[in-house]
Symmetry: C2
Subunit: 465 residues, 2 copies
């Protein structure tokens, strides 16, 4: 179930603001860490120089995550909004194997080509690109600030950790860098999802929790198929056990997504949603509903908010799974099956989901049958570290307490220059989004904290030239 | 000419002390940064636990450089001598593609297999090995101190820079991490070689400088072949231009090696040498020798000291080039042809050598014809950085001013925890060698500086558990 989760997470706002940039391409080696393969290919990057002071203005560099880079450029309003104040160049770099940055064209995700899709290779791409943007200078002129949200936030932090000579500082928003095996309890993520619903009313959470058995019972009878298809506006009828599971997985992802993007303003997301979408859907569940049919009708209303808020959807395509949405993030399944092993589980006790323990053996077998690889559960911890962040510097980790990914985030300041900012009312990397009149003061504070630190890092950079 | 130089540098003392260790093997992936290749192979490592406090004693970890690890274990006396004081476990890890750590057996250095010989892969091997030695623990029990000399010193520093969560601190002895293109003047190395000879007398240096033309003139006549072979005890006669160049390259390397290993005590090296070998050979050159035959006779005496101090050599095998010596370091040529690009040049003005400008095009073409690869002159700088060491921490860079490799060393303290120690009377990583009654006070100071810093790093580690 879970590998699609992060994808959904990251299929973020299609915000209305249209930012302007030039689209460029940069050649990188397929393999930065060996010389057996000599192929090179192009990664895409987007640039805006409108506010740039070419003498010594900083480069604001978004470390692209799993998806077309345009999506991240369009919704990381924070970078655009502060560029003028800093006289910054803005760069959004696309992660290899996503969007148009394909080493082997449309065969890139084939088993025989996909193996160079790793975070280390992506970071090395970014390092090469920045070296180019600095004119390959021994003493680079421009301070570079890395920005990223979610997996992009992990990359921003890792970029500073691994290449501090290239990146002056990093704003790592909602970066679950502790989500690896043994580092965070596997049930924390779903506990946070649950608590987001519980906050809107105990009944909301209880009804959802009760709904799983109701759905399973209801769908055992073929007579109910037509009713459910009609009431829930499903594209396909629920005819067998696989369909039932797909539907339940879809609903699970829906609740997760609603929690993640529980922003204080309406957003055009993967699915367009109203402000505070969790509150909106909980309106339909805010009394104890013991009648099964009524409960199913109400869940149908929730589905309708999630899938058809803009009244443009024909039907609920619950079978689409991880392809749901318009971000082409199919490479993520492979990353989750190699280095990005992030155990998740539910127990049905402290969360509103069906019990689903973390089973690494099954996970591993599934990965092998799908990609011919076995996950390396220690790889990311060995490469990037875990608890010992004290040797790092100039990173701000921000996390919103409404965001399930906070389960793997850094919530406490580690040192003078590895700092945590907690955004009480924030969902998934709200601080990177365009500012909005409904923003809670906590995110406004986070953004000014970021700006202060960026100023400090730039001063540091300049004092060392 | 030059790729063999570093090899000679590192073909270090076959010291008399025999240290005891267990020989073990550890399985590592061929490619740590991608998943296209799934082969694994074994690297060798040596362990001694005699003094180890298994509760929380540190691990002293030598980041093996280009050669069999036993050679480094046997002559890094400093680690052995301080192990008891620190209750340390001692580990010497062999660098992939050297010694017995061959991914493809005796075919490892073939063009189709050698591409995974890189510093990044070697560091990742070491990270995996330490993770294993720490029982794959999320919160490792044992502080790890990295040690290394020369390329091994570069690796020790890089290890701390890239994996600070795994390595608590690093003693990087004679690590020329600024030897990359554009970072140090290409003639500095040979200027230091020259100055080591000049210190022993202006005439010594002048005679050597004059000798090149004398040798070239003398060897143009076939009549002189027999005389030179006999006087210099050459294994092969000097018959053509290639032979002349080989001989001149051999002599150049000899002067370099003499400068590098200009230790205050006799050592069994690649070639056994007396204490202060530069002083010893300069005894033969310490007057202005204008007579060509006499000069050649005297150079013959120098050759004899260098090649036959123990009276065991049958003849001078000047054609052996980079294979001269018993360290199997043939992989180094490949590393120098890929990421380890270290420009060197002479101009015959500020040095005692024939002018030999740095010609990257020729160098690059030679690499391509030999290995099918082109050197990447920016690679190491992008991966490891150059001037911007301020973000690093817990590294001591030590350099001896007698050592030509100091040309690419860090001679000035960068920050509170990236410190430089200059050893006025020190040759190549003298501080890592076993202590000796003739040690100058400057190296004794360096060693106690190292110990103090190691104590400090271990305290830091423990205070953060």
């Amino acid at each position: 179930m879970w590998p699609k989760i992060l994808i959904l997470t990251l299929v973020v706002a299609l915000v209305k603001t249209e930012y302007k940039y030039e689209t460029k391409y940069f050649k990188v080696p397929l393999d930065h860490f060996g010389y057996q393969r000599s192929e090179r290919f192009q990664i895409k990057y987007l640039v805006n120089d409108d506010y740039w002071n070419t003498q010594n203005g900083p480069i604001f560099f978004y470390t692209g995550n799993e998806g077309q880079i345009e999506v991240f450029a369009q919704h990381t309003g924070f970078m655009w909004e502060i560029a003028q104040e800093f006289n910054a160049k803005i760069v959004f770099a696309e992660h290899r194997y996503y969007g148009a940055s394909m080493p082997f064209g449309n065969k890139s995700l084939d088993k025989e080509h996909i193996g160079y899709l790793t975070s280390s290779q992506a970071l090395a791409d970014y390092a090469d690109l920045i070296d180019y943007l600095q004119d390959h200078s021994i003493k680079p002129k421009y301070p570079v600030i890395a920005f990223g949200g979610s997996y992009g936030g992990m990359l921003a932090a890792y970029f500073r950790m691994k290449y501090p000579h290239i990146v002056t500082g990093a704003i790592a928003a909602s970066a679950p860098i502790h989500m690896y095996p043994g580092m965070a309890p596997c049930d924390a993520y779903y506990r946070i999802v649950t608590s987001s619903f519980k906050v809107e009313g105990q009944s909301c959470k209880d009804n959802i929790k009760r709904s799983w058995k109701v759905i399973r019972d209801f769908t055992t009878s073929a007579n109910n198929t037509a009713w459910l298809k009609a009431k829930w506006n499903l594209c396909d009828p629920v005819k067998n056990a696989t369909d039932v599971q797909d539907l339940i997985d879809f609903l699970g992802s829906m609740y997760e997504t609603l929690a993640m993007v529980n922003y204080p303003f309406p957003s055009d997301f993967l699915v367009p949603l109203p402000a505070y979408p969790v509150r909106v859907v909980c309106q339909y569940l805010n009394e104890s509903i013991t009648n099964s049919t009524l409960l199913l009708e109400r869940i149908g209303k929730v589905l309708d908010v999630f899938t058809n808020y803009d009244k443009k959807s024909k039907c609920v395509d619950y079978k689409k799974g991880s392809d749901y949405g318009n971000l082409d993030a199919s490479g993520w399944d492979y990353q989750a099956c190699t280095e990005m092993v992030m155990p998740m589980c539910t127990n049905g006790q402290h969360d509103m989901f069906e019990p689903n323990p973390w089973n690494f053996t099954k996970y591993s077998d599934d990965c092998h049958s799908k990609f011919g690889v076995y996950p390396q559960p220690d790889a990311a911890r060995i490469t990037y570290g875990g608890d010992r962040l004290a040797a790092a510097s100039n990173i701000v980790f921000s996390n919103g307490l409404l965001d399930p990914w906070t389960a793997g985030g850094i919530l406490n300041t580690v040192s003078e220059s590895v700092e945590a900012v907690v955004i009480l009312d924030g969902a998934h990397h709200l601080d990177l989004m365009p500012s909005h009149p409904s923003d809670p003061p906590t995110v406004t504070f986070a953004r000014s904290f970021h700006k202060q630190r960026i100023h400090k890092w730039i001063r540091q950079f300049r004092s060392r030239i």
